[in-house]
C-alpha cells in the first residue's frame, strides 16, 4: 500500500505519463503533480498508479556528500 516505486518518465500526455518502472512500461496519472512541469527524463515516485513526487538526483548526491562528511568528522579522534 505504501510501496511507492521510482519510475522514469518516457512521455507526457495531458495529466498522464508513460513511464518505465524497472524496464516495464506503464501509464501513470500525473494529476497530483499538476503545475510541477513533469517532463521526459524526470524520475518520479509512483503509488497506486499516481505520481506522488519528483525525485531529484542532485538532492540524492548532496545528502550522500553530507553524510560522508559527517562520517568523516565523527570518526576522527
Amino acid at each position: 500500500m505504501c510501496l511507492a516505486v521510482p519510475a522514469k518518465v518516457l512521455k507526457v500526455e495531458g495529466d498522464h505519463a508513460e513511464v518505465d518502472i524497472g524496464g516495464i512500461r506503464r501509464e501513470a496519472s500525473i494529476a497530483l503533480l499538476a503545475g510541477e512541469g513533469v517532463a521526459e527524463g524526470d524520475y518520479i515516485l509512483i503509488h497506486t498508479g499516481y505520481a506522488i513526487s519528483k525525485v531529484s538526483s542532485e538532492e540524492a548526491a548532496e545528502i550522500l556528500a553530507t553524510w560522508r562528511e559527517i562520517m568523516k568528522a565523527e570518526m576522527e579522534p
Binding site: M1, C2, L3, L45, T48, G49, S56, I63, M71
Partner: protein, 359 residues
C-alpha cells in the same frame, strides 16, 4: 540511480558510530511504515545495530489497522445484487469480525481487485447499469488519489467507502500512551504528501527527535544515527533526510485535494483504539459520492481481533511478532490469522518471510 546509498562500508561505519554514541544508554526508535519495516528487515539492519538501540515497527500497515466492522460492512455490500466492490489486493484476505472480502467473494459476493482508483472509474464507466463502490483505504499516500477523483467528479454509478487514516495523529497518540519512544523514523512516502511541518510540531511538543528517511539501508542507518545523537545531545529537531523526494512543504496539490474532499474525524484503528481526528470522511458536499449514505450502511460498533492474535500489541510496538504465541505456529502467510500476517506490509508477514532462520 542511487546505488551509493547501499554502500556497505558507509553503512558499517554508521553502525560503528551508533554503537559508540549509544554506549551507556538505551534507545527505542519507532517507524510507522510497512516499507521501512521491509527495508530494515530485508537488509538486516537490526543485526548491525548494538543491543542498546532497538528499532520497532508501529502502525505502518493501513490494511492492518482497517477495522473489522468496516470490512464486514463492505463484504456485506458485495453480496447485494448489482453492487461490485473495488479494492486493493492487500485487503482481500484480511479477516473482518465475521468475514473477509475473499470469503464474501467465495459465497458469490462481487469484489474486484484493482491497482489504482482509475481502474475503478474505468470499470464503472464500462458497466453503467451497475453500482461500483471503491473501498478506499490507506494513509496520506493513497488518500490524495481518492480526493482528486472525488473532487473531479466520479461516474454517477460509483461511490467511495472511505477508510483512510492520517499518520501524525497516530504518532501523537503513541507519544502520549507509550512513554518509551525516543524518536520516530518518519514515513518517507507519506512525507512526500504532508511534508515536514506536521513532524516539527510533534517534535517540539513532545521533545522527541524525528527524521524523515528514505528506504535504502544508508537512509535508515543515518536516520537512526541522527535520532541517537539528538537524544545524547538533548535536542529534538525534525529533520528531512529524504530531500530527494520530500519537500518540506510536501505536495501542495495533493494537500489541497484532500482538504477539499475530506474532513478529519475521530476514527478507530484496529488493535489500537479510537484516535482523535485520525480518519478522513468525505465532506457533506460530496455526500452523493459516499457509499455509507447511498446504501444506508450500518457499521457495527464492536471491533475484534481474531482470537489469540497479538496484532494489536504488534501495531503499538509493544511486542514483536515472535512474542506472539501464534507466530509461525497457527499463523503463517499461507494461513494467516491476524491482519499483520495477511498484508505484505504487515510486520508479522515481513518478519516471517525475511527474518527467520532458513530451514
Amino acid at each position: 540511480m542511487f546505488s551509493a546509498l547501499r554502500d556497505k562500508e558507509l553503512v558499517k561505519a554508521a553502525a560503528e558510530r551508533i554503537a559508540e554514541l549509544s554506549r551507556g544508554g538505551t534507545f527505542r526508535i519507532m517507524h510507522v511504515c510497512g516499507t521501512h519495516e521491509w527495508a530494515i528487515t530485508h537488509s538486516g539492519i537490526r543485526d548491525l545495530l548494538p543491543g542498546e538501540v532497538k528499532v520497532v515497527a508501529g502502525p505502518g500497515c493501513p490494511v492492518c489497522v482497517t477495522p473489522g466492522n468496516e470490512i464486514d460492512a463492505v463484504a456485506g455490500l458485495s453480496m447485494r445484487g448489482g453492487v461490485t466492490i473495488t479494492t486493493f489486493g492487500d485487503l482481500l484476505r484480511v479477516p473482518g469480525n465475521a468475514t473477509s472480502l475473499a470469503g464474501a467473494k467465495s459465497r458469490g459476493g462481487r469484489v474486484k481487485v484493482i491497482y489504482s482508483i482509475e481502474d475503478a472509474i474505468r470499470l464503472a464507466r464500462e458497466h453503467g447499469g451497475e453500482q461500483y463502490v471503491h473501498f478506499s483505504i490507506g494513509f496520506e499516500t493513497t488518500a490524495p488519489m481518492t480526493a482528486v477523483e472525488v473532487v473531479r467528479g466520479l461516474p454517477e454509478n460509483m461511490s467511495v467507502f472511505s477508510s483512510h487514516r492520517l499518520i501524525p495523529p497516530a504518532m501523537e497518540f503513541l507519544l502520549q500512551s507509550c512513554a518509551n519512544i525516543d524518536g520516530f523514523i518518519c514515513p518517507g512516502h507519506v512525507s512526500t504528501i504532508i511534508g515536514a511541518e506536521p513532524y516539527r510540531a510533534l517534535a517540539e511538543k513532545y521533545r522527541k527527535p524525528m527524521v524523515i528517511s528514505g528506504f535504502e539501508p544508508l537512509d535508515v542507518m543515518m536516520g537512526v544515527m541522527n535520532i541517537v545523537k539528538q537524544r545524547v545531545d538533548g535536542t529534538y529537531d525534525a529533520v528531512n533526510e529524504y530531500r530527494r523526494a520530500v519537500r518540506d512543504s510536501g505536495n501542495r496539490r495533493a494537500q489541497e485535494a484532500m482538504a477539499e474532499a475530506f474532513e478529519a474525524r475521530d476514527s478507530f484503528w484496529r488493535g489500537i483504539g479510537m484516535i482523535p481526528k485520525s480518519g478522513m470522511g468525505l465532506r457533506q458536499k460530496f455526500e452523493a459520492s459516499d457509499a455509507v449514505g447511498r446504501f444506508g450502511l450500518k457499521i457495527e460498533k464492536e471491533d475484534r481481533m481474531p482470537e489469540g492474535c497479538s496484532c494489536g500489541a504488534v501495531l503499538k510496538g509493544e511486542v514483536g511478532p515472535k512474542d506472539c504465541p501464534l507466530f509461525g505456529k497457527g499463523c503463517t502467510p499461507e494461513h494467516p490469522v491476524g491482519p499483520c500476517m495477511v498484508s505484505s506490509e504487515g510486520t508479522c508477514a515481513i518478519v516471517y518471510k525475511y527474518a527467520l532462520p532458513r530451514q
